[in-house]
Symmetry: C2
Subunit: 172 residues, 2 copies
């Protein structure tokens, strides 16, 4: 289930950036986690309150405009670490693959177009990741090491998909 992921995403970011507010965290989600686990404002504020109620985080300071700065608690760190190392693989839903699976319902020509468009889109995504990889100034913190590793995941997986789409276009 993806149950827990947003919760753990928020908890993890608070661990990495103590003193962040909901507002700050939302930006972090949109900046560094946009391609991994997007979150909406509404969802995030709700989750922060739940995390507080459950004692996994706490408000360290109240700033201007009711700004609540959070930090992780011992209990929270414990639960985060447990979640991180106990990986239970979750079922993945891929809307694009569902399309591919049903492509026999349109003409070959249209199917080819869909595949070609997908190839282009995938290449664009890869180019985007490449750009991030070169533009970001990586320091040698652990945090950035794993951010880079996560980025590389995308590059390798996308390369596999591009490989596939070339093959598939020839096949039909």
């Amino acid at each position: 289930m993806s149950r827990m992921s947003l919760r753990m995403g928020a908890l993890g970011l608070i661990a990495q950036y103590p003193g962040s507010s909901g507002y700050d965290l939302l930006k972090t989600f949109n900046d560094s986690l946009a391609n991994v686990w997007p979150a909406t404002q509404s969802q995030l504020y709700g989750e922060l309150n739940k995390l507080t109620t459950d004692g996994l985080i706490e408000v360290s300071t109240i700033g201007p405009r009711g700004r609540k700065e959070y930090r992780i608690t011992d209990d929270g760190r414990q639960q985060l670490q447990t979640w991180l190392v106990s990986a239970d693989p979750e079922p993945v839903r891929n809307p694009f693959l569902l399309r591919v699976f049903l492509l026999s319902e349109v003409s070959r020509a249209e199917a080819r177009e869909v595949l070609a468009a997908a190839t282009q889109a995938t290449k664009a995504q890869l180019a985007h990741l490449d750009e991030i990889a070169t533009s970001v100034e990586w320091d040698d913190s652990d945090r950035e090491l794993f951010a880079r590793i996560a980025l590389e995941y995308g590059r390798h997986a996308l390369a596999g998909v591009i490989d596939w789409s070339g093959w598939a276009e020839r096949e039909i």
Copy 2:
């Protein structure tokens, strides 16, 4: 959004297997779509009723035990085809990547273990797809062509991920 996907999955399967009941479709979801778009019984029956109300499918026969056999309508086929060719890429959530991203919160040793476990799991998944690829007797219908292409997607993408995980294990 994944809004629409279950709906279109059900519609597409009815297009491919006219005369199916909800019960039949559930088996098809679990058999051929398990790795692409899993569906629960509850969800499927609800969606079938909505599709009927909206005129995209219709009941062709009522069989024993209240069995309702469905077929797609002209309007339904139209909407299915439109959906198939108008690909709007959807944001992907990857719970595993979220973990990777946050792995700096545990020790290097533990992080390595998580990566190693993931490598093993990915290899197992790939072996599973390989087994399907060799065990299934593919005919030369369009339907099976695209099923095979969808399967190959998985194999290529997983190969990319295995590539990555080897690299990542060395990196940390």
